[in-house]
Subunit: 665 residues, 2 copies
């Protein structure tokens, strides 16, 4: 039975699946072969498209021999493969898959191609995701947190999943979300915050039915549901005296709890755990290792094919700022590298892409590539906690692509060596535009596509997103619309970097909410996030020779590249070295002049992007245009504030005037 | 009928009225002459004391001629005077008053004197308060504010008056509070926050009964109740289209609302208003002056003898930090000085003692002394928002005394020229020790006594507080106890100044909650609170010659004294001037070395005070001792944090090493 396409509530933006994106398929005659739930999802899609655009769809070849199908979607088996083969011959486009998920992805592949899918000839081409797990972690709270709100680090309204203290009753929006995710290749969602508070802890046990309801509507889109749990669950929920991972009672408790979860959700994905991190409970309390902790949950999940995602975000968040020997950047490697080989096969170590915390510029974490005998997932942050909080345009595709193309050992790129997959912290909420800033949708889409194919050129992915979302072909001036969108998005990450954090310095943000500048905001804090600016220079010496030794956590060639200011890339120089303001960069500029110049440039680039956007009025849906235009006002204000505070701060410290004589306060 | 002494709930500290404080009176034979409610309050006090200590009390001379009274308390009339005459002749101590309040104050005068009241001869001595209004403003919210909590800037638990969204039902604690206030001379209390939020606005109208209940229990202690109101009340509560002070409908609304208030509270004190300040509504919205605004309410109150307290805390809180010409310190004078003479006789302009906001060191506001034809009240802050938040010992007596002794025109001290009285923001809550930190009780007591007699030596007042509160005479070592208390309290304000803000620089605090250091916390903010530190120097040039002109707001001699660094007192130097780090102070030290030295000294002084306090164990009530000891741990930690952050900040900026080679991070 065909699954109807979800109906979007009034006023909700269709994102990258507007009806117009289905025109090419909807005008064709399609044959769908095979059966099973995901086939019905595809059937529903094609049926809806044909109803709108006049095509036809069959579930079996029409009797007789005369029928020529434009498109044949065929499921040939029932395995778990997500791969499909796509080709075109003699005027017939085909998608063949051995597993239902493959058929679904193949269908959306055809949608993405649009009319191109129905032109010329195309030899059969096999498509398969490079990374098996392509996951979104939602930091959504069930009960509104007094400080962090409904969605921790959420900038897009409330939670899609939870409202008024429980799972939403009307799940149409969640279904539509699942559909969007399927269309960009995401196959796993964790539905609650990794900081598991009191209320949320109970989702694991007597409130698992609410999770099951969400899983039910995500399943038809090939998405498995995961749950964040507290390591203290046996104590908090089970009333046990301990949560010691080696305790038999604890192991039995987790086994039984997990059994009950699978009773409710047969294809449950597994657990996500933040342990011994920023105050969360963990195995350290019992003198056990993080491998002990992860393996405890892995053992409980193993009989059912589930996975535990164990976050490597473990560091001392009560550091003394006076202590320059402790380096938070070292922490993940120091904690986890020695455990390589000790994790169960169904335990995934989830590592943030950088060693700190989603700053606009960090080196790739040295832990990535250092754990050959561990399933490791790379975690990025689609929600723009440190990159403008969806009030600023900051398309993160190029940053993620840099991470995925980075070769920790000089040979194999990260994107090909992360067997645990790619995970993003979601940027989605119940905002009508899904992501608050409509252009932030591009981050979600790009994430999914890069997870599928980490070596893709992110600009090509963006172009794909533009074609789907804005259907420029239907506009009065397709070339200008497309060029305009690329103009405001392609370089937006580097623009954001320019007007905020220079040369790899991070955390110059307002404490707490992390929006807007505060150069010394974290300088004397316990969070391990310092820049050590004084009147002579700025930056953290993380060299092995004279600093914290962090640079030596890398394999060659990076340990050597980062060790010396002579070879360290400019954009990471202050991350690895404390440099004098008059040090001359590879670019030929001094550090201080680089700071001034990039900050003036960054603001100019925002002002220009704002103008470009204004010029697109009439080519873009008015509501979407208005929302973006409004946010550009804030972005420009914010960029000026960043520029002026950063420049003033470093001018007051260094005393060096701007070579161009511009106004610094 | 005698009013019984309020019974303190279990565990509540008696503060400066422990039973032992009444021993001298309670062992005597007392005659009370006169009648009326306050006489019954006094009678209840003496009765209770005698019941405990074996004395006797009569309400009329015993028949016959033989009786010798030790103490005669006589009310000779029924006027509104608070004065009394006290003397001792032929073994008889007398207190005579023409008004009931005078008798009450005279009685507590005798209590304060203890056995001294009953020794030797004492010629009749007239006592009258120098300031007629001695008021506490409670920044208590009725509904818990999402950010500010139950008590805004409160560090002593919840509100004494309000709990669970309404006036407390059990008012024993409020009665006990009124008694404590009477014993130190306070005669007015505003029962709600000057930031009048939605819920609190309604106290003026249909919830006035709750205010009346509080007034009923404060009245027997000579205290009039005041209410903070919103200037927008006619709109918010009355549904009028405007709150324009010159609108007839608005005037009629206030007249009627006020009439109803006095129906409920016959001796209602009046209104407190924060208008056009930090976002509060005010007359500016209608193009009217603050005199228009204040006079509107004054007119409504006038028929009943009420007063409006109109706060002068008006400034631009959305200032651009880049703009160095706008100076928040100028704001109160600029707004209000031109209005001198325009305020109604029953309008009191309530002026913060300093031009900014209760920093540990500010000059006296130039507005004080600049409004000869205006009733002006001086506002100080007993709640320690910027002075350690009742986790640090900071006895403010010396600071307040400096303010009260300051002679704006070089002749008449503030304490003799504030016809509107003295107002303190209360530091009291429902904490068992009233003020969180038991030693912060001294601030409340000192405030009341200085309001009565502004030229008193604050150390004498403190000594009085010690004698009442700790009754050293009953301890094992009276001299050591008294000396110890003086050691930890007398210099605590200067100690706090030492380890926090040097030379008149303010606002180097954590934004929002204002606890702990953040040197640049307000430097790039819209709040008008800057220090302008750069690599060469620090401070704000407020001179007339080259700065904001603030110094010229003072009359002579101060305009001249403050204008030049050569004559400006060291402790205010950076308030008035931007000085190089190597500038030599009158003390002979450079600015930078002064910063280092005072910060090291401040921490050493806290460490020493902590030791002194520890040594008083056994001489002090154990619960009180434990609470203070615990807070000293936090104070010492906090003082070190202040020292290290301030010193590091200025070392990193200046590059000047400490002359003594101490460790700076």
């Amino acid at each position: 039975m065909s699954l109807p396409v979800p109906v979007l509530p009034d006023g909700v933006d269709p994102a990258w699946l507007p009806p117009a994106a289905f025109r090419a398929v909807g005008t064709r005659h399609t044959l769908i072969l095979g059966s099973g739930p995901l086939v019905e999802t595809v059937h529903g899609e094609v049926t809806e498209a044909c109803a709108r655009f006049g095509g036809r769809v069959d579930r079996a070849p029409e009797p007789g021999t005369g029928t020529t199908y434009d498109l044949v979607l065929e499921l040939t088996g029932g395995d778990g493969s997500e791969a499909f083969t796509h080709g075109r011959e003699s005027g017939r486009t085909t998608v063949t898959a051995s597993g239902p998920a493959g058929l679904l992805y193949g269908f959306f592949h055809v949608v993405r191609l649009g009319e191109d899918a129905f032109r010329g000839e195309r030899p059969p081409e096999a498509h398969r995701p490079v990374l098996a797990l392509r996951m979104l972690d939602h930091w959504d709270n069930v009960a509104v947190h007094p400080v962090m709100g409904q969605v921790e680090r959420g900038y897009a309204g409330g939670s899609l999943f939870w409202a008024e203290g429980r799972a939403r009753g009307d799940l149409d929006r969640v279904r539509a979300y699942g559909r969007l995710l399927a269309a960009c290749g995401i196959n796993a969602v964790a539905v609650n915050n990794v900081n598991v508070h009191e209320t949320e802890a109970h989702l694991l046990t007597h409130r698992i039915g609410e999770v099951a309801a969400l899983a039910d509507v995500l399943r038809p889109y090939g998405i498995r549901t995961h749950l964040s749990v507290t390591f203290a669950a046996p104590v908090v929920l089970g009333g046990l005296p301990t949560a010691d991972p080696l305790d038999e009672g604890v192991r039995a408790w987790w086994a039984e709890a997990t059994r009950r979860v699978y009773e409710e959700i047969e294809d449950f994905g597994g657990y996500v755990v933040k342990a011994d991190s920023e105050g969360r409970p963990g195995p350290f309390a019992y003198g056990r290792s993080h491998a002990d902790g992860a393996n405890l949950l892995a053992a409980a999940l193993e009989p059912y094919g589930g996975t535990v995602h164990w976050r490597a975000f473990v560091y001392d968040h009560r550091q003394d700022w006076r202590d320059r020997t402790t380096d938070r950047a070292r922490a993940a490697y120091d904690h986890f590298a020695p455990l390589d080989g000790e994790f169960a096969p169904n335990a995934v170590l989830q590592v943030k892409h950088g060693p700190l915390d989603f700053q606009v510029r960090e080196p790739v974490s040295p832990l990535i590539g250092a754990m050959e005998r561990t399933r490791l997932a790379v975690e990025v942050q689609a929600t723009q906690e440190y990159t403008g909080q969806q009030r600023h345009v900051c398309w993160l595709g190029p940053m993620w692509s840099e991470v995925l193309r980075f070769r920790p050992d000089g040979r194999v790129p990260v994107g090909a060596s992360a067997p645990g997959g790619l995970v993003a912290v979601s940027n989605v909420g119940d905002d009508p535009f899904w992501t608050g800033h409509p252009l932030a949708q591009a981050n979600l889409y790009t994430f999914g596509r890069l997870a599928w194919r980490p070596d893709a050129d992110p600009v090509d992915v963006l172009d794909e997103w533009i074609r789907l979302t804005f259907t420029p072909g239907a506009s009065a001036d397709p070339a200008r619309l497309t060029a305009g969108l690329h103009a405001v998005l392609d370089g937006s990450w580097r623009t954001y970097e320019k007007y905020t954090a220079p040369l790899g310095v991070g955390f110059m943000v307002q404490p707490g909410h992390h929006y807007g500048p505060s150069v010394d905001g974290y300088e004397y804090s316990p969070w391990g996030t310092y820049h050590f600016a004084d009147r002579d220079g700025v930056g953290v010496d993380r060299s092995a020779a004279t600093g914290t030794g962090y640079a030596a956590q890398y394999a060659k060639p990076w340990a050597e590249v980062y060790e010396s200011p002579a070879t360290c890339p400019d954009e990471l120089l202050l991350f690895f070295h404390h440099m004098a303001y008059d040090h001359v960069l590879h670019s030929g500029k001094t550090v201080i002049q680089h700071i001034y110049d990039t900050h003036f440039e960054g603001v100019a680039e925002v002002a220009e992007a704002r103008e470009v956007w204004a010029s697109l009025a009439g080519l873009v849906d008015p509501a979407r245009h208005a929302r973006v235009a409004e946010r550009y006002e804030e972005q420009l204000r914010g960029a000026r504030e960043w520029r002026d505070q950063i420049n003033s701060y470093f001018f007051r410290k260094s005393g060096v005037p701007d070579a161009q004589g511009r106004r610094i306060h």
